[in-house]
Amino acid sequence: MTDSAPSRLRAHSFAAITHGFLPYLALQAGVLLLWWPKTSLLERTGTGDEPATLVAVVAVGGAALAGFALLMDIFPPRSPPPGGRPTAAPPLAEQAHATIGYAGTQLAQIGYLMLLCLPLTLVAHAISSLAAVELLWIAAFTAVHTVFYRVLGIWFVLRWPAREAVLKLGCPAVLVSVYALTTVFSPCLSHAALSYHATAPNSAPPVLHCGALFVGSYTVLAVLLCFDGLRLLRSRAQQTSDDVAAQP
């Protein structure tokens, strides 16, 4: 199988995704245990010192989701051995309904990844002061964040079908955008910032009180990347049909 964009942009199986995400989950579990409070509840309520367990778990989970979503097609998760058969998922087609189906599958897989993080997050939530509604907001922000990095990962594969080119990240504009986003809304910082804002709004610095800006930025960028990716697909499809027509 050639290392081409359509062959790499395929819907991975849930088993493969789970297998590939297990190390990240283990990391999240490790953070949960490391940040689990070591002093008693009595001492913490006496000083108003809330454990930072949920913040740490959400930050690691968000970073893991963003990283996995970004690299899922650059380094596709392999099927688990033994007994696993090669994935027979259909490659990305250049038809509208297939594209829509592919997008739906990606969203379902992102939802599944978030669901995988949820049990450990709920354990940390049990000892935090966060209300359930605020946890839902953090989940919504995390979903937007993850969708953006998923779209970015797909766009990388479409822009540079060869993996080496992707890894080199030769386009200066892309480099600047990614580094800017990473600096301002990096996975760890944004999730931790949102967590702090939700759990301790009085202590968060002003720059972090910008959830709408965060959502807007990532949504707009994701939409732009989608449009560019669709344009790339259409141009490749046109080129392929031209090549076929030119054959004697």
């Binding site: 819907a11 991975h12 199986s13 849930f14 088993a15 493969a16 789970t18 297998h19 297990l22 989950l25 283990a26 579990a29 949960l32 245990l33 689990w36 409070p37 002093t39 008693s40 509840l41 009595l42 001492e43 913490r44 309520t45 006496g46 000083t47 108003g48 010192d49 809330e50 099927s79 688990p80 007994g83 696993g84 058969r85 994935t87 027979a88 998922a89 599944y112 669901l115 995988l116 949820l118 049990p119 450990l120 709920l122 354990v123 939530h125 049990a126 000892i127 935090s128 002061s129 209300a131």
Partner: protein, 661 residues
């Protein structure tokens, strides 16, 4: 050129926008101020603080507020805000009562507040339903502070100016109107003595009578003047507390020996008409009864103990001739009143070290409340979750992406663990409900059916749950307790939290801001009904008659260096308990720990060492200390689901006047 014009236009636009916004802000504040002024004019607030507008700092003080509504009907609350001082800074305390006023209506409400700061005025506010301040007034305390304690004189034509003493006794006589008398016994905190002189007690409400009675039991001095007019003495509200029965009047023509009976060097002047005295018949004598008798064995002064206070009844009119102009009246009155500080029950904010009550509450919470789950359950959960996921992906058909069953299993596994995490960690191992812990010390008063209640409460929450506590059974006046957090951190601890104390027929306490991971502490005192009579005799032992309405459990008697278990005495029972070797228990701590817990042992130890009460301590070989447990007299009405922890201790000191056991 175009760019310059554009930037200029933008510059002017932003300037204009800023000017418009500033105008709107100014107009808005003017309108709000005008609205508030209109509201203030529609609602009149008239406040009377202390006694004759005088207050003593660091005491509980009554504030009587009259609110008149000239505008639309108002439904909300009347809020009195005082400022307390602590080592970690000042903090406000809110006292609140609901208020409903129709147009043209007037209402009088009384609060009992603790004043500790002269420089900060007391704010009185009418708050509407939506939380907005409808009317407000500030009371400046700087011009109303007195350095003297008060002698409250109630009565017609009573001139007790001779009791003013700025030097030795620091006393000032005040003549308050009946409607401004405290409705809570702690309102008399700055009062040294109360003198009743020919006053109609019908002008006092039942609450005011009860407050006066409780204040006397807590250590106050009540002097009741007799004379030819016995109407006041026959009032049913007074006869129960008087140390003598009234049997009409007697005429005394020879006053030459009166001063001898009253232990004065100054003869009582002979008046133009015979002297009419109240004929007193002292009630059955107790150890503390004092009777000064004149000629013909006529009682002139009868004094008896009531709880920790004393009631003095004179057969003569202290404010009428001949005694009003008698040279010896001042000396006699000071001797009868014995001015001294009433044992204040107000709590001083905790110092650097936690108080005994705080330590006991800590122990109560640590022993009985839920703490964080340990690392083991978390580790086991995480390991199980990851292990199941590994098994899931290693299934032979795990990679069939198109299989609906595979998808279902893939989603079901984390969903099951979501349910387990919620049920196990959110419900079982670490419940989310806030915690209310209370320590109540009940000390029955001698010669009284009352007891002193010292109540310490602590509210603890990990979330921003509502923490309001509605209660009944008792009506303590609460004060904020500053948590001593220096045990746990080297950082500066937060200032004490702000409480709202609702003082009305359905009292409640609630933190003003329910912040997560905070502990809210308060302390309150009250005098409660607690009819338990205890006598000790060397031949028959201890006799305990329980008519308190509660069962007394875990009763132990401590004398000298020995402990005797006395068990349980139910309500209505009279128990006779002998101190014999069969009941001697040298390992009382082990037994108490087995029947109750370590907190009970620590509480008993604190009482025996005198750390928990200024009055209950084993400091004499002849004293017998009775310690036990009972249902808390402070009853919460559980409108909020909480974990409640109680520790309610009853403690007596019984003087052994007939020998040791």
């Amino acid at each position: 050129m175009t760019r310059d014009l554009t930037s200029t236009y933008w510059c002017w636009f932003w300037l204009a926008l800023r000017a418009v916004l500033q105008c709107i802000a100014v107009l808005g504040s003017v309108a709000a101020h005008a609205q508030l002024q209109r509201a203030d004019q529609q609602i009149e607030i008239d406040a009377h603080i202390g006694f004759q507008q005088q207050v003593v700092i660091d005491t509980w003080t009554p504030i009587t507020i009259t609110v008149r509504n000239h505008g639309p009907a108002v439904t909300g609350a009347l809020d009195v805000v005082t400022t307390d001082a602590s080592p970690r800074g000042d903090y406000p305390t809110h006292y609140r009562q609901p208020l409903t006023l129709a147009r043209g209506a007037q209402k009088r409400v009384q609060f009992t507040v603790f004043l500790s700061r002269i420089a900060v005025p007391v704010d009185i506010r009418v708050i509407g339903d939506g939380g907005e301040v409808v009317a407000s007034q500030s009371l400046d305390l700087r011009t109303q502070t007195s350095r003297q304690r008060f002698v409250v004189a109630l009565g017609r034509d009573a001139n007790l100016g001779y009791l003013n003493d700025r030097d030795q006794h620091q006393l000032g006589v005040v003549y308050p109107l009946a409607e401004f008398l405290p409705a809570h016994w702690l309102g008399y905190d700055s009062v040294e003595a109360v003198v009743l002189h020919r006053v109609s007690l019908r002008r006092l409400t039942d609450q005011q009578i009860q407050a006066l009675r409780k204040w006397v039991a807590a250590g106050g001095r009540l002097l009741v003047s007799g004379g030819h007019d016995t109407a006041m003495l026959q009032a049913p509200q007074l006869t129960a507390v008087l140390p003598a029965r009234i049997q009409g009047t007697r005429t005394v023509s020879d006053t030459s020996t009166l001063h001898t009976a009253l232990d004065s060097e100054w003869p009582v002047p002979t008046g133009s008409s015979p002297l009419i005295l109240t004929h007193l018949h002292p009630k059955p004598a107790s150890v503390s009864t004092l009777v000064l008798r004149g000629a013909d064995d006529l009682p002139l002064v009868v004094e008896a103990a009531t709880g920790r206070g004393r009631v003095v009844l004179t057969a003569f009119d202290i404010a009428s001739e001949p005694f009003e102009s008698w040279r010896g009246i001042r000396e006699l009155m000071f001797r009868l009143l014995q001015p001294r500080a009433v044992q204040s029950v107000t709590l001083i904010d905790a110092q650097d070290q936690p108080s005994t009550e705080t330590r006991l509450l800590d122990q109560l919470v640590a022993q009985r409340a839920v703490d964080y789950p340990g690392h083991l359950p978390v580790m086991a959960f995480a390991a199980l979750y990851l292990g199941v996921l590994v098994l899931l992906v290693r299934r032979p058909d795990a990679d069939q992406a198109s299989s609906i069953g595979t998808h279902a299993v893939a989603f079901a596994v984390p969903l099951v663990f979501v349910a387990v995490a919620t049920g196990l960690f959110h419900r079982v191992l670490f419940p989310q409900a806030p915690l209310l812990a209370s320590l109540a010390l009940v000390e029955p008063l001698d010669n009284s059916t009352l007891a002193e209640l010292d109540l310490h409460i602590r509210l603890q929450s990990t979330r921003t749950d509502p923490l309001r506590v509605d209660y009944g059974g008792v009506s303590p006046q609460f004060r904020t307790v500053a948590n001593t957090d220096s045990r746990y951190t080297t950082q500066a601890p937060p200032p004490p939290p702000t409480w709202i104390f609702e003082q009305d027929a359905t009292p409640a306490i609630t933190p003003r801001a329910a912040l997560p991971y905070r502990t809210y502490s308060a302390q309150g005192n009250d005098i409660v009904s607690f009819d338990v009579d205890v006598h000790y005799r060397s031949d028959s032992g201890l006799e305990l008659r329980n008519r308190s309405g509660r069962t007394l459990t875990g009763l132990w008697a401590f004398t000298h260096d020995r402990a005797f278990t006395l068990g349980t005495v139910a309500d209505g029972e009279t128990a006779h308990l002998r101190f014999d070797e069969n009941q001697l228990q040298s390992n009382w701590r082990d037994q108490l720990r087995a029947s109750h817990d370590g907190v009970a042992v620590a509480t008993f130890d604190a009482l025996l060492n005198g750390e928990l009460s200024r009055r209950i301590r084993r400091d004499s070989d002849t004293d017998v200390l009775l310690l036990g447990f009972t249902r808390s007299p402070w009853q919460e009405h559980d409108t909020v689901k909480r974990d409640n922890l109680y520790l309610s201790v009853v403690a007596w000191r019984v003087d052994d006047s007939e020998g040791r056991p």
